[in-house]
């Protein structure tokens, strides 16, 4: 359980890099996956999950109002579930669905933040030095939101799934493995077509 909490905390921290702080690509699948894998004691599974996540989400960019699913959240959920002895192919499915749901939660949070921003603006007008507090508060709230979401998914889905997995028929497990192994090929086909020369 300590490892699960640690992975949720690291995942929430890495997720901040996606939008709210730094944007130094720590939250990319190929960086976050191996990092979280190293913490969980299985860096290679972390690498595989990271590569698969990035290949799967490569065709959705944060352009305009589009909010891509978070690779950091997907990797964190997947590896946290792997730490509960759930196989990577099953954990990854939960991770992808979790990242999709997280994108919707994030959209709702961004809409709801308008009221919070208006309050902060008033405080900044009264005291410009309040800006630093507003930034720290925004980062803390985002971090807390990320952590609660990742932990909630891991507890709500991970714990029951860990108990159910040994009872899952072998045929169903084979289907899971088969679709998991299809991920890199789905992603690579998309990746190659992104380099079409359109300019100059």
């Amino acid at each position: 359980m300590t490892l699960l909490l640690l992975l949720c905390l690291l995942g929430a921290l890495l997720e901040l890099d996606t939008t709210y702080a730094f944007q130094l690509t720590f939250s990319r699948g190929i960086i976050a996956g191996p990092l979280l894998g190293l913490v969980s004691g299985d860096a290679l599974t972390g690498l595989q999950v990271g590569v698969f996540t990035e290949l799967l989400f490569i065709d959705v960019s944060p352009l305009g109002g589009t909010l891509p699913p978070s690779a950091a959240v997907c990797c964190a959920i997947t590896l946290a579930l792997c730490s509960l002895q759930i196989p990577a192919y099953a954990a990854f499915f939960v991770g992808v669905v979790g990242a999709l749901v997280f994108a919707q939660v994030e959209l709702a949070m961004r809409r709801a933040r308008a009221g919070w921003i208006a309050q902060q603006e008033q405080k900044i007008r009264r005291n410009p030095n309040y800006l630093r507090h507003a930034v720290v508060e925004a980062l803390s709230l985002s971090f807390m939101g990320n952590f609660v979401f990742i932990l909630a998914v891991c507890l709500a889905v991970g714990l029951p799934l860990a108990k159910v997995m040994p009872l899952v028929p072998e045929k169903l497990q084979l289907a899971g493995k088969f679709s998991y192994m299809a991920v890199p090929w789905i992603g690579l086909a998309t990746l190659l077509s992104t380099f079409r020369l359109k300019t100059r």
């Binding site: 730094f22 352009l63 007008r125 899971g176 789905i186």
Partner: protein, 275 residues
Amino acid sequence: MLTKAMQLNLFLRSFLIQTGWNFAKYQNLGLCFTLYPFVKKLYAQDQESIPSVLERYLENFNTQPVMASFCIGALAKQEERLAGAKTLALYQQRLSEWNSMKRSLSITTASIGDRLFWGTLKPFTLLLALCIWLVQDINFFEVTLQENVTFWQVFGGALVAFFVFNAVALFVKWQGLSLSYFAENNGCFGLTKFDWNKTIFNAKKMGIIAAVVLLLWGVYYFVNDLQASLGLGFITRAVMVLFFVSISLMTRNLRIPNMYVYLIAAVMFAVACLF
């Protein structure tokens, strides 16, 4: 006004430009936070005007986070001109210029940044990392992964991707601040110092080379496997690869994201295997 110390301060603060991102005013809090030390120094003799100046920075602002440095430098320069206006008419004229520049520059930089960083550099560094991992014999195409791999085998590709992406991003971010601040009036705020189209074109060309290397490795891997055994496993894998590559290309034309293809495939396989 833009000393090296101030440039460093703005550069570091610009990493938080997206903090508090919201649908009402986008990056307004981050922009205000980034430019606050500059405004504070500029209006050191007239501190009462600082809240009204910050009010302008708290209005709508949205651009690509790396390219935002061009906006920050240009806004700092325009703010200096605004602070130096001697008459009300001149102040109003410069305020109008400040507003239109803020709007148009944020759109232009967002367009360049999205194409360069999200559309080209990110997939390119991913391909680079994949090539490095495959050359290092890290085969992530199998469910059962090999054991006894070194730290550098696992992190080699990731580190190269991280450093290549950030070398470009941090260079553009740092240069953007000074280029836009010191740009001539007709210099498009320093944006013309780089040939963005050529950079994107060359990066895409390098991406094609990396893609060919990856494909050649794939062919080598399959030919090796073919020599080992032309069994059911090989045929199943070849059919699976061809099937999913075709499906992916088809759904791309239909603008269906990859993640939905994977989720649908997982559910369909599960149903097919059960019944």
